[in-house]
């Protein structure tokens, strides 16, 4: 009791950079906890993908001709849509931190920007893991039958993970720019739209010719093609490499950008 207020200088037990890793872990645990307790947002991010899949498969599915059962065609797209939506939530959580009182406390404790943002990205990965499993389970219930070897499943998970990490960092950078969490929310709509102009829901060759060029070359399409090929056991050509290259590029730019933005935002 009596030593509580003694001004013992706090010299971190592990000096130097490893502290940043430990900080990132602590921040990740915090963000996962915040996510899991934000019930409204959690339910939205879990239910929306499931509802979307039911809409596509049950309502639109009868009218869309893709050469296979539509459920087989669309599930990889819905999984991706759900991952994109889930990752984009990171913009909101980052923005909420930046506009609240906690960021000053963290900075005055010398917790760095990368550790703070990595915590949000880690929570995003955790959220997406849960929602992807949920979507996949519902997909199987309504007739999705993957034909994938265990290694292919692993590869699909790896590509999806890369996509979620890259998009979450991009969302984090967006969250640093947005002035309010409500504004940061706009990023979700941007990301929610991109899969529609890809091969996620309908084959690209059924689209008007002016958009085919964009749809074929935007980053979502190779990710979709990779997931679809790996899960259904069809050829993927070099789609996985294109997908990973996109993810690496987005990740590198987002990390660099968010580093600059964090410093500028907190000056």
């Amino acid at each position: 009791m009596s030593d509580l207020a003694l001004p013992t200088p706090n010299i971190a037990a592990t000096p130097g950079r490893p502290a940043a890793l430990a900080d990132a872990r602590t921040m990740a645990a915090r963000c996962v906890r915040l996510s899991s307790r934000n019930l409204d947002a959690l339910i939205t991010s879990l239910m929306l993908p499931v509802v979307l899949m039911l809409v596509f498969v049950e309502l639109f599915g009868g009218a869309i001709e893709t050469g296979t059962a539509y459920v087989t065609y669309v599930v990889p797209g819905v999984i991706l849509l759900c991952a994109g939506f889930g990752s984009a939530t990171t913009a909101v959580t980052v923005s909420a931190d930046m506009t609240g009182g906690i960021i000053d406390r963290l900075r005055s404790m010398d917790v760095g920007g990368p550790a703070v943002l990595a915590g949000h990205v880690a929570a995003s990965v955790a959220r997406n893991a849960v929602s992807t499993v949920l979507v996949f389970g519902v997909a199987v219930l309504i007739g999705f039958r993957p034909h994938a070897a265990p290694l292919d499943v692993l590869a699909a998970v790896a590509v999806l993970l890369a996509f979620v990490v890259a998009l979450s960092w991009l969302a984090a950078a967006f969250g640093l720019v947005a002035r309010t969490p409500e504004a940061a929310n706009g990023f979700q709509f941007l990301i929610l739209f991109l899969p529609y102009a890809s091969s996620a829901f309908v084959p690209i060759d059924t689209m008007p010719s002016w958009i085919q060029g964009f749809a074929a070359h935007q980053p979502i399409t190779p990710v979709i093609e990779t997931l679809r090929g790996l899960l259904l056991g069809t050829p993927v050509a070099n789609a996985p490499w294109t997908a990973l290259a996109w993810c690496a590029g987005i990740l590198a730019v987002s990390i660099a950008l968010s580093g600059v933005l964090f410093r500028r935002r907190t000056r």
Partner: protein
């Protein structure tokens, strides 16, 4: 080493755009004391705290905190300070205990040490029962206490408190005051900003009055009160002519002057003897004063006395 001031600022200057928020501020705070920066909204208090706590950079001037330069040795400073701002820096959806444990982990404590420290601080701040509840369920006073507890997790040498009692009810304010007093008893240095004269008076060893980015007065509460009494005698006079006569005879002892209402204010210590002496001096024949009242001096009175003008409107909120 111990003779080094805990905080030393020289010529600190900061502008946001065309607005000069701090103008060559000099300060020195001895170790183990409470220093209060007293001023209205927009005076530059929060900016001062942010610079000293390494969160903002001064345009000119230097500052040392706990012996280290706030610009060049940021990391060393950050290990030795804590900051409690106007907005609670705790997560609402985490419990009180979780918030404190998280801070401990960020300070490099082991999970076990962080848990023990959290328990200790919850007990000390009378939050043990609330420790397992989410902060969203806390009252304003409990939140501030948790916030202060969180700032003590790392045993800082220097604690910055930016308006720690603004918006609190009187009972919670009293509880915060008791806590701050206990902190200093343990040897910690406290740098506190406030808009309340009473708060600065109660807690601080030294007070600096800041106005428009400049320190207009600095000293112990007793020294300042010799310049500005903490009570004010308000007189409403019978007519214009009496008002002019009394105003002339009181001269520069007047702290409030309102000709339209025929009202004059003079500083007093509030004692019956002093008030009676003043009334006798002003109105020996008991005809000039229609009504009188004794008030606590407000920050406005202090400002009027020290700066010759009333407090200026809110400017700081734009970048607080």
């Amino acid at each position: 080493m111990d003779d080094d001031p805990a905080i030393e600022a020289t010529g600190l200057t900061k502008s946001y755009g065309a607005l000069r928020v701090l103008d060559a501020v000099d300060l020195a705070v001895a170790r183990g004391t409470v220093f209060s920066l007293l001023g209205p909204n927009g005076a530059g208090k929060t900016t001062m705290v942010r610079i000293l706590a390494t969160l903002a950079r001064a345009d000119a001037g230097t500052a040392r905190v706990a012996g280290f330069d706030v610009a060049a040795q940021r990391r060393e400073v950050r290990r030795r300070i804590s900051l409690t701002g106007q907005y609670a820096a705790v997560d609402e959806v985490q419990t009180g205990a979780e918030n404190l444990r998280m801070m401990g982990r960020l300070f490099g404590q082991s999970a076990r040490a962080a848990g023990a420290r959290a328990t200790e601080l919850l007990e000390r701040f009378e939050l043990t029962d609330a420790g397992a509840r989410r902060v969203a369920t806390y009252s304003g006073g409990m939140r501030r206490r948790l916030d202060l507890a969180a700032s003590l997790v790392g045993r800082p040498e220097v604690i910055f408190l930016d308006e720690p009692t603004t918006g609190l009810d009187p009972r919670s304010r009293q509880a915060m005051w008791d806590e701050i007093t206990r902190l200093v008893g343990g040897g910690t240095t406290v740098f506190l900003t406030t808009q309340y004269l009473e708060e600065a008076d109660r807690l601080a060893d030294r007070i600096a009055v800041i106005d428009d980015g400049r320190v207009v007065a600095e000293g112990t509460p007793a020294q300042l009160k010799r310049r500005v009494s903490d009570q004010r005698l308000d007189l409403v006079l019978t007519d214009d002519e009496t008002f002019r006569d009394v105003a002339r005879s009181l001269g520069n002892r007047i702290v409030v002057r309102d000709p339209a209402a025929l009202r004059l204010g003079v500083a007093t210590d509030g004692s019956a003897a002093h008030v009676r002496a003043l009334l006798d001096e002003i109105d020996p024949r008991s005809v000039a004063v229609r009504r009188f009242a004794v008030h606590d001096a407000t920050l406005d009175d202090v400002f009027l006395a020290l700066t010759g003008h009333a407090t200026s409107p809110d400017k700081e909120s734009a970048h607080a």
